[in-house]
Amino acid sequence: MSTHAKPHVSPSSSGGQPAWAGSAIAILIVLVGVLAVLKVTDKLSVAGVVAPLVLPAVIAALVPRHHGWAVRAPLAIMAALIALFVQQMWPAAKEAVEGVQEAATEPKNLLSWLVGLPMLGAIAILFLPRQAPRVLKATTLIVMLLTLAASIPLLRVSYGREYHFNEDVVWIERFGIHYHVAIDGITLWLVMLTTFITPIAAYASFGSINTRIKDWCFALLLLEAAMIGAFVSLDLFLFYVFWELMLIPMYVMIGVWGGTNRIKSAIKFFLYTMFGSVLMLAAILYLAYSYSRLTGTPSFDYFELQRVLLPRNVQLVLFGAFALSFLIKVPMFPVHTWLPDAHTEAPTAGSVILAAVMLKMGTYGYLRFCMGLFPEASSELAATLGGVAVLGGIIYGALCAWRQDDVKRLVAYSSVAHLGYVMLGLFACTQTSIEGAVLQMVNHGISTGALFLLVGVIYDRRHTRQLDDFGGLAKSMPVFATMFIIATMASIGLPGTNGFVGEFMIITGTFVSTKLGHVNGVQAVGAAIGVILGALYMLTAVQKMFFGPITKPENKHLDDMNGREILAVAPLLVMVFVIGFFPNIFLTPMRDAVSRVQSDFAARVEKHPAPLYYDGPMRLEARLADAPKTPPAKANDAKVEGK
C-alpha cells in the first residue's frame, strides 16, 4: 500500500525553466540514440529529422505545468517514436527503401517469441516474491514492453497477398496437429493492437489495483500471450487452445478485482463464451473428420481444411457453430447480454483489454474462419446477418447506450454498436468494407480503450459512474475533460479522427455491396443513422458530465489527471489522430491481404452459387494459391486429387 501512493509531482521540478532545459536535452539525447539504433538517419530529409523533434517539444509543452519531467520525458519519447513510426511506415518512404527490405530476411521465430515472451514472463512472475509489488509491476511492464519492441520488426516487412513469418512445426503427429503460426496484413494490425494496448492497460491498472498484485500480473501476462497466440495461429486446434486459454485470466480478472456483482458477471461471461466455443470445437472436429475421410491423413491446418467442400446442409450447421461462437464474442444481438455486465463489473484494465482486444477475436474469427472455411454459407446468410448487425447491433446498441445512466455501461453498449459496423463491413464483403472493418477493429480498440481508461479515472475519484452524479467537470478537471472529449470525437467518428475513416469506408463499401441482397442501400442508410445516434448518445453523456453548473459539491475540488493517467491515455489519443490523418499507413499493408480474402471468397461463391450451391458428397478443392507451402513430408495430395 505504502509503496504506490507517492505523489508524482516533486516540488523542485514544477515547471521552471531549468527543468524545461533539462528535459529538452534529455529528449534530444534519447532521440539521437533512437535514430542511431534504427540506422535510419541516412534516409531522412531535414523535415524528417525535424518532425520527430518538434512534435515531442509541442507535446511536452502541452503538459500542465505542475507535472514534472517524469511525465514530460516519457510523453515526448512516445511522441517521437510515433512520429518516427509514421515516417517509416509512410507508403512512399517504404517504397524508397523497398530494396533494403526485400534483402532483409524475416527474423525467424518472431511470432513464437511474441507468444512466448509474455508466457515466460507469467511463469517468471510465479517465482517472484508476493511481498514486492514494485518488482512484480516492473517485471510485468518490462516484459510487455519487450513484447511490444519485438513486434516492431513485424512492420518492417512489406505485406502482399501472402503470409509472413510462417512457422510450421509438428506438434501431435498422430492427429495432424501442427504448431502453425503466420501473419498477413490483417493479423498484423491486430497483433500490433494487442502488444500496444496491453502495456497501457497494465500501466494504468497499477494505479488502481492494490491487492494481489502477483495474481494480477500473472493474469495480465497470460492473457497477452493467449491473445497474441489466438491471432497468429493457423491451425484450428492451436487456435482453439489459445481461444480457451484467454478465458481463464479474464474470468479471474473480472471475478477477483471487479465491482460488487463481479462473481455473477464473471460466471456469465465464462459460460456464454464457453458454450459458444464448445460448439465451435464440435464443428472443428467434424471438419477435421471430413478432411481425414477425404484424404486419409488427419489435419487441422487452416489451409487444408479450407479445401473441404461440404454439402449445403452440413456447411450451414458447421457455419452456425463457428458463427455462434464468434458472434457471442463480438457480441452481436441477441447474444450480447453478457457484455454490459462484464464491462460494468470488470476493473478498468480488464474492460480495456476486453473491449480493445478480446472482442476483436470475434470479428477476426468471423473474417478468418467463418468466411475462409465456409464461404458459401457465409455468403448465403450475409444478408440476414447484415440486417441483424444493423438493427440489433448498430441501432439497438446505440439506443441502449442512449438510455444508460452508468457511463461505463454506456461505453459498453457503444461497443455493441461499433462492432455492429465491423460485422456489417465483413458481411458486405467488398474490398473497401473489409478494409474499413479491419481498420475499425483497430479504431474501436483505441477509442474505446481510451474511453474505458478515462471512465476508470473518474471512477477512482468519485466511486460512482452515474451520469447524474457528475456535471461541470470541465471546470474542475480540464485535462480530463479535454481527453475525454477527444476520445468521444474518435468514437463518434468526427472527420480527422480514426473513427471517421473506418465508418466511412464501411458505409461506402456496404453501399456498393452485392452480398447483402436487394436492401444493401437500406443497410448502409441504417448504418449512417447509427452514426447520428452515436453522436447523440456520446454527446449527451459528455454534456451531462462536463458542462453546465457544478451541482454536486464533491465535484468541485477533484484532482485532475495525474501523471500515470496522462501517460496511459496519451498514446491512445495520439494514435486517434495518426490513424485519422494517415490511414494509408494502416491500409496499405492490409490491402493485398484483404483483396486475397475477398477474391478467394468471391471465387468460391461464384463457383457454387446460392441457393443450392453444392449438394453432392463432400470433396476437396485445390489448395488456395497464396497459402504457405505445405511441409515437404506430405506427398499424398496428388493421389487425392484423382479420387
Partner: protein, 491 residues
Amino acid sequence: MGLMFALSPLLTLALGACLLMLAESFGKRRGGLALGTAMVFFAGCAMSAGVWLRGLEGLEGLDSLAPWLILDRFTLFFEGLLCLGGALAALLAGGYLPEHNLDRGEFYSLLLFTTIGGMMLAASGDLLTLFVGLETMSIGAYAMSAFRRASPRSAEGALKYFLLGSFAAAILLYGFALLYGATGHTDLVGIGQAVRAGTKTPMVLVALALVVAGLAFKVSAVPFHMWTPDAYEGAPTPATTYMAVAVKAGAFAMMLRVLLTCFGDRATASWSSGWPPALALVAVLTMTVANLVAGRQESVKRMLAYSSIAHAGYILVGVVATMRAPQASASVLFYLLTYTVSTAGAFGSLILCGRRGAEAVSYEDLAGIGRRHPAAALPFALFLVSLAGIPPTAGFFGKWYIFRAAMDGGFYWLTIIAFVNSVIGAYYYLRVLVFMYMREPAAGAPVATPMKSGYVTAALILSAILVLALGLTPGGSLDVVEQAAGAFKVS
C-alpha cells in the same frame, strides 16, 4: 521365466504387500509405510513399463495362463495405470492418515491387495477369474471406505457401498450364469464365438442386460450411482481418491474387455439390437444428471464425487463409440489416464487444504485460500481446470480425443450432448475457483490453513507434471494407448 517376467507387475505388488504387512506388524514406526507402499507401486509401474518396452512377443509360457489371465499390452497398460493411481493414493494417505489420526497400517496393505484385484480384473479373460478379481478389488474398497470407523457418515457410506456393491455383484453373477447356460463357455473368447454363432439369442440378451447393469453399477453410472456420493464422502479422502481413479479404471477395463470380446459382433454391437443404444442412454443420463446435481452440492468432496460420475459418462460415450470407430477404445484408455491424474490431483489438493480437526469439505472452507495460501490454491485450480476440460491441460486433450472418436463414429448428437455437458461441468468447477480466489470467509471464520506434508506435496507435483505433460505433449502417451487398445484384439 518368460511368464514370471510378464507377470512381474502383479508379483511385485503381491510380494510388496506381504512384506509391508510383516513390516507393519513387527515394525515400531509407521512413518515409512506410506513411502514403502508408494515405492512398491512405483516398482509395479516400472515393471509394467519394462515389460512394455521389452514387448510380449516370444515370451515363453504366456499361453499357460491363457483363458484365465491374458497378458497383453491392454493388461500392461491397466497394470501401469492402476499402479499410478495406487501410488498417488498411497502418497496422499501418507499425509492424510497421520494428520487426521487414522494412522493404521492396514490401509496400505488394503491398498495393495485391492490393486492386485484390479490388475487381475483387467487381465482376466474368463468369467471365473474376472469375478474373483472383481471381488478382491471390491472387498478391499469396502474396507477402505469404512476406514474412518468412528464416523457415522463413513459407516453409512461404507454400508451402502457394501450392500449395493454386493447386489451389483450378484446381478453380474446372474448374468454370467445365464451366459454360461446359453453358451456353455466361461472364457470370454468362447462366449464371444458362441454369441456370434447366434445360439440361444433371447437368453444371451437377458444375460447381456444383466451384465451391462452390473458393469454400470461398478463404474457408477446413472441410474446405478446412488451409492457413490455417500461412499465417496464418508470415506477418508485417499480412499475416495483410490475409488474414484483406480477402482473405476479397473471397472472400465472389465467393461471394455467383456463388451468387446463377448458382445463385439455385428448383431449385439449394433445400434438396432444390442448394447450400444442402452449404453448411450446410460451415458447421456450419467453426464446430464451428475452434472446437474453436482452443481447443487455444498460440499466440494461430494461435488467431486458427482464429477467422477459425470466423467464416467464421458468415458461411456467413448465406450459406445467403440461400436463404429476402432480407435475409440484407445480414447477411453487415454481418458482414464488423464482422469486419473486430474482427479487424484483434485482430491489431493482438497486434502492439502485442511488439517486436523478442520478438514476442508465445503466450498466455504476454501474461501479466501487463494489469497492467503496461493501455493495450495494454484495446483487445485490447475486440476479443476483440467477436469473442466480447458486447454492446455490433460483433461482437455482427453475430452477432445473421446469426442473426436465419437464424432468419427457418427454419434453427432451424443457428442453435442457431451459438449454441452462439459459446459455445465465447467460451472461447478469454476465455483471452487470463485470461492478460493474471489470470496472471503464468512465474518469471524478463519481462512483454512493447509497441512504440511511432503507426501501430499509429492503427489501433487507428480500429478501436476503429468497433467501438463499430457496436455502439452500427448504424442508419446497416444502411441502407448493406441498400442494398448490395438493389442487387445476384437475377435
